[in-house]
């Protein structure tokens, strides 16, 4: 039965309709004569309030509002990778073909290509009983990723028919299941509502780090696969570059990048770079494992609210195939602002700074969709969520940052003072933290002779001491410090310039392998020990720091490629010889 109501109120992206009894919360609706896509956000008697995902200009009172009987859902199947979608999963390429270089409203577009054929390989046989989430076949979607075809989480039964290996479109029936009296046709895709987390068998504790190739993250503030992390920072501190770097270099099998209310040119940058940049592990273009969701700041605000749910639902789908998925949401503050704008139009009672009182619970629900799970298919998969936060005025005490901190377990605080010194990534090592250290310690220790944790504590200690000594130097000058403390300043400088700083635009430095990261950090800390001995023999720090080999130690991050990380050890031998010579020990 079609539920048709009439528009009685229009205010920005929010519309109220009367006479639509039976509309459900979050039901997808068609608004107005042009059938703009909307979603029900409040129901009172026969009145429904709808947020509209497209521009409402020109919409008139009395135009019809139709319910679809379905919640807002995404299409999940082959064709997701290498796509760029808007906030409600319409491909921007299709929109361009329909309306030209500028986005007009009212475009109906399927998320996945209907005419493209995929090479389907069945993995189950006729007569087998398949439970929800079982993998029944596979498609090599891109050279980087095998797309596993899942029985939808709400279907199960005995296989009456399964297609032979061959070329099929996603609309072709590839299997029939029977359960009791009922039979279902399965296609290579199914739909899933974006606001409902996909089910799994059980949640597991994270145990493996996401290797991002970014030294300060991997060595100091790691995030585990299945973890949640927040990157807050004022403008110009490098949230977007950090998000781009994570999307490019993380060792996840699938990356979902959500440009939520951000700049158009930044999405263009990803679209230009990712097909060219190569995955360091496979040598294939990064785009082959990436899904982009772009709802830029000037696109409709309600679709911005939906975009992060669209993204995380696609991520859960790949997780259910047994993959590790990374989701970068830049920026969750823009999502929260969309929430605030809609809430304001609904005339809800505001809590802090005009944000609705349910901001915290929405954030909590979102970050809880991260996790490492045993999926319905029996395979282990994970969703790692990285949310950028754009605090107004760089003030971390504002509601979005504060509430986000409650739900993430790693916090990479970007610092505008570091950014204005062009120290990138501008992650502040004194205020950032990670609660995943204990989870990933085992993984690292196996690869570093058990030294990872000890090294990071030592390095962070030196950096903390540097910060304390800076206060002293401000009062009395560096010359009046004892030599051991001058050495702390020198080692801290090497740590900052030779380890923590990482140039995203330098072809060598942009990605550091775990081995190179570890060797660089050990070399700088070894320098500290060697120099301590030299000082005790009366060598002044000024002589050590002016050695050319010490100057070059800070440049190893750019001069030594990942595959030649052993050169760092040999370089350290040279530094050691030079310092010993200063101490009059000969070689």
């Amino acid at each position: 039965m079609a539920k048709i109501g009439r528009i009685v109120r229009i205010t920005g992206p929010v519309v109220q309709a009367e006479g639509v009894a039976g509309l459900e919360m979050h039901e997808l609706t068609m608004v107005g004569n042009e059938e703009l896509i909307g979603e029900v956000v409040r129901v009172e008697g026969k009145m429904a309030t709808i947020q509209v995902y497209e521009d409402t200009a020109g919409l008139k009172l009395g135009e019809p509002v139709k319910g679809s009987g379905m919640p807002l859902a995404v299409e999940l199947g082959p064709g997701l990778l290498q796509s760029i979608f808007d906030g409600i999963q319409r491909p921007l390429t299709v929109i361009r073909d329909a309306t030209g270089d500028f986005v007009k409203r009212g475009v109906k577009a399927s998320a996945l290509p209907r005419d493209r054929k995929w090479h389907f390989v069945p993995l189950k046989k006729r007569g087998e009983y398949v439970a929800p989430g079982t993998i029944i076949g596979k498609v090599q979607e891109t050279p980087l990723l095998e797309h596993r075809i899942l029985v939808p989480p709400n279907r199960e039964g005995k296989i009456e028919f399964i297609a032979e290996e061959g070329e099929y479109t996603i609309e072709d029936c590839i299997a029939k299941l029977s359960r009791g009296e009922e039979t279902y046709e399965l296609k290579m895709y199914h739909k899933w509502p974006v606001r409902k987390p996909r089910p799994y068998i059980e949640r597991l504790e994270p145990s493996e780090p996401v290797i991002t190739g970014q030294r300060i993250i991997d060595m100091f503030f790691p995030v585990a696969k299945g973890g949640a992390v927040s990157i807050p920072g004022g403008f110009g501190t490098g949230k977007t570059i950090t998000s781009h770097q994570l999307a490019a270099w993380s060792d996840c099998e699938v990356i979902i990048y959500i440009g939520c209310g951000e700049r158009g040119n930044e999405m263009t940058e990803v679209l230009i770079n990712f097909p060219e940049w190569k995955d360091p592990r496979s040598g294939r273009p990064l785009m082959e494992r990436t899904v982009l969701i772009a709802n830029t700041s000037n696109m409709p605000v309600a679709a911005r609210e939906a975009s992060i749910y669209t993204g995380v639902t696609i991520a859960e789908y790949f997780r259910d195939m047994g993959y590790n998925v990374g989701v970068m949401a830049d920026s969750t503050s823009r999502w929260a602002e969309a929430l605030r704008e809609i809430s304001g139009r609904l005339e809800e009672m505001p809590a802090e700074e005009g944000y609705p009182s349910y901001l915290a619970s929405r954030l909590g629900e979102f970050y809880e969709r991260a996790g490492k799970v045993k999926s319905l298919s029996g395979l282990y998969g994970s969703v790692t969520l990285v949310g950028a936060v754009s605090p107004p005025g760089g003030d971390f005490s504002e509601p979005v940052t504060v509430h986000t901190k409650r739900f993430v377990r790693a916090f990479w605080a970007l610092d505008s003072a570091l950014a204005s010194m062009r120290h990138y990534p501008a992650i502040n090592w004194l205020t950032s933290y990670s609660e995943y250290i204990d989870y990933v310690e085992k993984w690292w220790n196996e690869r570093t002779n058990g030294r990872w944790k000890e090294l990071r504590i030592k390095a962070l200690d030196i950096l903390k001491k540097e910060d304390d000594l800076k206060e002293v130097i401000r009062l009395v000058g560096i010359e009046s410090l004892p030599e051991t403390e001058k050495l702390i300043m020198e080692t801290a400088r090497l740590l900052r310039e030779g380890f923590l700083q990482q140039n995203a635009y330098d072809p060598v430095d942009t990605y550091s392998s775990p081995e190179k990261q570890f060797k660089l950090l050990s070399a700088i800390l070894a320098f500290h020990e060697i120099s301590l001995k030299a000082i005790s023999k009366g060598v002044p720090v000024s002589k050590i720091s002016s050695l050319p080999s010490v100057t070059d130690l800070a440049k190893l991050r750019m001069s030594v490629p990942n595959e030649k990380a052993d050169e760092i050890d040999r370089f350290l031998d040279r530094v050691q010889a030079d310092i010993k010579r200063l101490a009059g020990e000969g070689v």
Partner: protein
């Protein structure tokens, strides 16, 4: 148009808004004609429709309107402006009507002033270097075609002077085409407007410019439409007429104040400092109308100017702007006090698109490393300045004193230039190396040795 109904049912007038009762067949955001008791015509826009009541904002203000003698017609279309290339060389009000005494320009087409969002997939990434002739910008925070780079200023700082200097000097090296300039003044004073007009006339830039003026005593609602009218023209010139358009918007602070005023009149829930919660989206709908499109020759480069209230960069207006624009040029009161023009503080300034617009084949291969080294050296010099204020120069090492000398010389010889001085990029980089040569060679850790060999001047 003739069939549209005339309503005489104004129920309430509040600030710039009128509320009309009993309306039917009215569209959200559509254009409205309001006639006052004397028959004077004003225009407005539908902001909200709630059952039979339409809230209309009146561009010319509500002074003189009453609930009894006002009549209202809804035109069934959004606000459009007439467009043509003949608009160059002319002066308009915020609604695109000529105010320079000349006849209305010939119209080639009409367009909705609100524009449409550019499809991110259609965008082309900006990579072409624009030479402004200003060392601090060209050398340190390079502007590229299709970028939106604002100037963050403060009351009493010479942002107008700088904006006109950029409008005069901006060129693409090796290309003879000059920019068409769309100049948008929002809420500025009469004498400032006169300064701009004179400056454009004297330099001969007026013939390639369209000026949109909304002065401080013009109605604030019109201020909200002014940048949209101007950007609609800019889009027409860039993407229909293949022109490279530089849009200068001054002063965005006045625009944001008008936005707050209207929001308050609508009794909306405010967010920070009384500004509406949608100010980010609203500003983005202006700033994001910069860029390039694949397959089109033209481009829109935006340079918005804003004055930071009380010089506070964390105030919502500069803050939200900085989150949308691709960098910012920050003017500094202390530099200005010391007589340095342009008083650009390079440390908080940034051009996000610089990296793709400079280097080999675009500017010069050493450009990137030189800028990076200047940044870190100047940051160090600033740090040492405050240190030496406490412990005295004697407490500093010889190397530190070299940094102090560098800092002073950098401000006096590199940043500082005349208001008519148009420096080539070669000259800017030559000056940059003169400053860097004040430091010991071993301090230039961000520059590859091969450039040091060529350009470093040993004393």
């Amino acid at each position: 148009m003739s069939i549209s109904v005339e309503y005489r049912s104004v129920q309430k007038i509040s600030g710039p808004l009128i509320f009309v009762e009993g309306v039917t067949d009215v569209g959200f955001n559509e254009l409205v004609e309001v006639r006052d008791a004397e028959g004077g015509l004003r225009r407005g826009r539908v902001l909200e429709i709630n059952r039979g009541v339409a809230a209309v904002e009146v561009f010319e203000g509500t002074t003189g309107l009453s609930t009894t003698s006002t009549s209202v017609r809804f035109l069934g279309k959004p606000l459009t402006i007439p467009l043509s290339t003949e608009m160059l060389g002319r002066v308009f009000n915020g609604l695109g009507e000529p105010i320079d005494g000349g006849p209305a320009p010939f119209t080639e087409e009409y367009r909705d002033v609100n524009g449409l969002p550019m499809n991110p997939f259609s965008r082309d990434y900006p990579t072409q270097f624009i030479q402004t002739g200003i060392s601090a910008i060209d050398g340190m925070d390079t502007l590229v075609r299709g970028q939106k780079l604002p100037i963050f200023s403060g009351s009493g700082l010479p942002h107008n002077l700088l904006a006109t200097q950029i409008a005069r000097q901006a060129t693409i090296v090796g290309e003879e085409v000059s920019f068409a300039v769309v100049f948008v003044a929002m809420g500025i004073k009469h004498d400032e407007a006169a300064f701009f007009k004179r400056s454009f006339e004297e330099s001969g830039a007026l013939k390639n410019s369209a000026i949109f003026l909304n002065l401080a005593d013009d109605p604030p609602v019109e201020r909200l439409v002014t940048p949209r009218s101007a950007l609609t023209l800019a889009e027409y010139l860039a993407f229909e007429q293949d022109m490279h358009v530089l849009v200068i918007l001054t002063d965005m602070t006045n625009y944001a104040e008008a936005l707050r005023e209207i929001s308050a009149a609508r009794e909306e829930v405010p967010s920070r400092k009384g500004y509406p919660g949608y100010m980010y989206s609203d500003l983005a709908s202006i700033y994001e109308r910069a860029g390039r499109i694949k397959g089109k020759k033209g481009s829109i480069t935006q340079m918005p100017v804003l004055t930071m209230p009380n010089d506070d960069i964390t105030h919502p207006i500069p803050d939200l702007t900085g989150y949308i624009t691709e960098g910012q040029i920050v003017l500094d009161r202390d530099l200005h006090r010391r007589g340095i023009y342009p008083p650009i503080n390079i440390l908080p300034s940034l051009s996000r698109l610089m990296k793709d617009g400079i280097g080999k084949g675009k500017t010069r291969e050493d450009h990137g490393p030189v800028a990076s080294q200047l940044y870190s050296a100047y940051a160090r010099a600033q740090e040492l300045r405050s240190l030496s204020a406490i412990i005295g120069e004697e407490g500093l090492t010889e190397k530190d004193r070299a940094y102090l000398r560098f800092g002073d010389s950098f401000e006096r010889n590199f940043l500082s230039q005349g208001i008519d001085e148009n420096r080539s990029l070669e000259r800017t980089l030559e000056l940059a190396w003169e400053q860097l040569s004040l430091l010991p060679e071993s301090e230039l850790t961000r520059i590859p040795d091969r450039f040091i060999k060529i350009y470093y001047k040993r004393s």
